[in-house]
Amino acid sequence: MAGTQGNFKVSLTENPRYIDMDKCIACGLCAEKCPKKVDDEYNEGLGKRKAIYVPYSQAVPLKYAIDDTICLKLTKNRCGICEKTCPSGAINFADKAKEKTLNVGSIILAMGFESFDPSGIDSLGFGQHPDIVTSMGFERILSATGPFGGHLCLPSDKDHEKAPKKIAWLQCVGSRDENRCSNAYCSSVCCMYAVKQAVMAREHSHDPLDCAIFYMDMRTHGKDFDRYMEGAKKNGVRFIQSRVHSVVPSQDHQGIEMRFIDPDGTIQNENFDIVVLSTGLQISAACVDLANTMNIELDHGNFVKTDSFNPVSTSVPGIYACGVFTGPKDIPQSVMEASSAAAAATEYISSARHTLTKEIVIPEERDTEYELPKIGVFVCNCGTNIGGVIDVPDVVAYARTLPGVTYAEENLFTCSQDTQDKMAQVIKEKKLNRVVVAACSPKTHEPLFRQTLINAGLNKHLLEMANIRNHDSWVHASEPARATKKAKHLVRMAVSKSMLLNSLFETQLPVTQSALVVGGGIAGMTAALSLARQGFPVSLVEREQNLGGNARKLFHTYMDEDIPGQVKTMIHQVNDHPMIHTYLGAVIEHLDGFVGNFNTTLATPESKVTIDHGVAILATGAVEAKPDEYLYGKHDAVMTHLEFDGRLNKKDPMLDAAEDIAFIQCVGSREAAHPYCSKVCCTHSIHSAVEVKKRNPNANVYIFYRDIRTYGKRELIYKQARDMGILFFRYDLESKPRVTPSGTGVNIRILDHILKMPVSIDVDILCLASRIQARDNQSLAQAFKITCDSDGWMLEAHQKLRPVDFATDGVFLCGMAHYPKPIDESIAQAKAAASRAITTLARSSISVGGVVSRVNEQLCSGCQGCIEVCPYNAIQMDEKKHVVNINAALCKGCGACAAACPSEALTLEGFNNEQIYAQIKSAMGA
């Protein structure tokens, strides 16, 4: 790599694949015939793969590759059988490595992690017994695409039949451990995945399965994670707080013996059938090398060094990083960071947007409205996938007899490029105006065949698919005759529906290329700045009279960065930016419109303002709950985190005078009424404790906790705190600390876990880790048509894969309105929201229509039953005509209205009643 921000030159070496990607249609014949077998690294060595292989079943693109380290042809110039079997001639043994040079403006590193290899730790017995597996290995065992087809069995059993009765999980293998490895950090995700695996294993198992998780602290700090863990506990998953010191494969192969000290301090022996080592995440040597060649600074865990206010920036300008490479994290956080890195990477080079775009030329669409149906049926063999079970020529012959069918043919691989070209040719030649493809799932292949229709000058909605692979040949492989009959039924149904298909059209609506950001805290300001820096005007709305939100009341991040100073800088940047218009003391009064065309009315102290905007980002934050226990509000020595930080900021002499300071964790969190973890408090308390100890090394500092959740790199300050002599006491929800006034301070009594004796401590200051509480977002939720979960947090479109989107298009989410989170995560999510918003803003128009509902005004009697059932508020009443109309931009084509309408005045285009009745009739007849 050479060059600087805005102008990098990157040289890449593309290793040979020995497969022509354009020709390979992933039929699998080559792998069937390949004689060379090796352990499959994707299945953690639990299964085998061939020398010619697809790395894993969901690989995109689904194309084969040859492993040149073991292929007989490439290593010894023998065999070559794949070349002979390949029906499409995709094998190319002469393939060579290719050098490429790219000229780019920004670089994003998303190189992920490797799972810790526990074979070096003898006491864990990995490698000594096949039933001791890593968590990755166990993940593969549970997976339907795994080595045992998703059947839970003992890896040691050759027949894969014997099911385990007891499984143990060992947490923190390769994490929080500087003795047996050098990974001092917490891997952050293992607690949650262990709980998930335990729950799933129990679901997979036919007999009752005993699952035990051996842990130090359960770190289920993510959204809804605690609820999931409590559910697992209730369903009988055992949680044992203990670090197992040895795992001994028993000699008689009667399972695996584990020796550990239970929470009471007694030594226990217990046998398990499978032991899962919850291995941590670490950065591979290759990644470290690459970072070094790029001069990127790493921390001592080999993660990219970032700061809380720039969570995706590396030490080299123009190079960004995301995912586990910047620190251990789970899927939603990685997805957020990925979008965030995309935003950061485009901020500097946004002027280049749209400069390298190429426009696709598509042939003019033929008008088929007045033509009689001429249906073409293309039946796919899919190699042996379909043809091996179903008598395809018979199905083709049958298709020819169906009414409306003027052409039918058989293809070896309908999805291959040459067949596609031929199909387009046939459509043109035979003047087909409806196309039925009997092949696989429309979910994966409909876009491809629609493209074929477009290329042939047909409307893409004139396509109908019959899934004779997934729904037929795969599930009825043992009954070829009946499968063939079913294929005929499916084809007949598709043909009768296709007869009634009509062209559907999409129209373009202009996009207002500006954004509304609700909330002027760190998240809102970050999102606004990111959008403005990329050239999009932003209206920033804040309910309070000043920007900054909760961050104004905070002191330092756990990495000792000065929060008020940074916030001040950020406020300046917002105020100075010409593209940002800030409305202080303003609330949203009314909202109209839809993605690309919102119209919002704000009530500001002076007047009412209406704003047109294309997208909206909600960053309304959260508040610190006021505790109602531990003498809070009744005694001056008792305070919350924010109040404590206020004193730190003001350098309150009370803090320096205090000799004994205590922190109580989980005040209001993780309880029946609020069963979630507030996520930031463990780190915050420990950081405050360290700060106190630094100012006054003689002070006694106590922390009362349930589980210490200093996830990821935060673990290091937990260690630092212990090294400094800060005392930690664990308590249970059933035996909470009792706080009574004692002079100017308070007295705390608690039952010590290990000693089984009451402990009494007098302290001068008691700091409560009070719960973070969601704001009342009811009216906002109503205006933006979004939902909040039972704890009040705004509900994202998908908890793992779409963590900043809402189900409503054009509205995005960031910061603590989503869930409690520290500053770095809020900023990452805010940038991610900006990035997601730009996917809409960067376009000048959006297309509307296609598969949406349509109203037949003649039939509508204006009863408005449909309005109530529409989940997207896409239907309005036209009072004048006494009929309803549908906003195609809001309609998602769910069809609820069509089902609700008593007179079939509403129909879902592409799935209208006529078409569905035709399919049903055709299914029932013959």
């Binding site: 003649q858 039939l859 509508c860 009697s861 204006g862 009863c863 408005q864 039953g865 109530e868 059932v869 989940p871 006494h882 609820a896 609700a900 008593p902 007179s903 079939e904 005045a905 009643n913 006529e914 009745y917 035709a918 009739k921």
Partner: protein, 270 residues
């Protein structure tokens, strides 16, 4: 008569443009729209033994002129029908005035031909093979087993001559196009009407709508006990959702998604 006075007042004070009641013509008691121009006609106003769907007529008028103010002579069933039509936005309550005639459970049985007041007579053959008009759905369920219930209903349904009278007379059937005429749902040109789909479709569409006036049963030339069937429909809706159509102006459970799921799918019992 008070009713005459009240109706005259409505017209003379311009509170209504037309008053729907009954009068006698050629020896028949039939509906009539009284107007201010011929207010003296109201002296002939009758309450009528025969019930006609006056609400449906009001809908016809409102469709022609949505601003028309209509007065109606309303029995209890009319009140329910009107509430339902308000709910479904077919009539505007602000444009409707009613003069009420209480008949349903009262002793004023001279005022109507309702089967609530004068139970219908069921023939012996019908009792043996079909369904007694006056049976309550609950008793019917209790007295007959599943097979018997099916055969009795099939006996009744197979008599259907598909006159669509039940729908045509129904005061709450307002759809412009009816599913019963949909060639994909009900095969056209076949008699008896597709059994039992024709009747099940209508029964399903009556869910949350039927206001139990019994006009359908009266209009049925095949003597199918429709009122009893739709009474079961109403019982089911009221048991499952606690909704009684026409009781209040509130939307039917079938037209509201609702915020929370209160039902659980019935388990499959083998």
């Amino acid at each position: 008569m008070d009713m005459v006075k009240a109706a005259k007042e409505l017209l003379l004070q311009d509170r209504v443009d037309i008053f729907l009641g009954y009068h006698k013509l050629d020896g028949h008691q039939i509906p009539h729209g009284f107007t201010k121009a011929r207010v003296a006609d109201l002296d002939q106003l009758e309450i009528s033994l025969n019930r006609y769907p006056l609400e449906k007529i009001a809908c016809d008028l409102a469709q022609k002129d949505p601003t028309l103010k209509i007065g109606i002579l309303a029995r209890d069933c009319s009140q329910r029908a009107l509430n339902l039509l308000y709910t479904w936005d077919q009539l505007n309550p602000e444009n409707i005035e009613t003069l009420t005639v209480n008949c349903c459970p009262s002793s004023l049985s001279t005022h109507g031909d309702c089967s609530y007041l004068k139970p219908k007579t069921t023939g012996e053959y019908k009792k043996a093979h079909g369904i007694d008009y006056n049976d309550s759905p609950k008793d019917f369920m209790a007295e007959h087993d599943s097979q018997d219930r099916l055969s009795r209903w099939m006996y009744e349904f197979q008599k259907c001559i598909k006159c669509y009278g039940c729908r045509n007379v129904c005061p709450v059937c307002f759809c412009k196009e009816c599913s019963l005429e949909h060639p994909n749902l009900v095969e056209p040109g076949v008699l008896p009407a597709e059994v039992p789909i024709f009747h099940l479709i209508r029964a399903t569409h009556m869910a949350g709508r039927c206001i139990d006036c019994g006009l359908c049963e009266d209009a049925c030339p095949a003597h199918i006990p429709l009122r009893m069937l739709y009474r079961e429909v109403n019982d089911a809706v009221s048991d499952i959702f606690g909704y009684v159509p026409g009781d209040h102006i509130e939307k039917s459970p079938f037209s509201i998604i609702g915020k929370t799921v209160e039902l659980t799918p019935a388990p499959m019992d083998v």
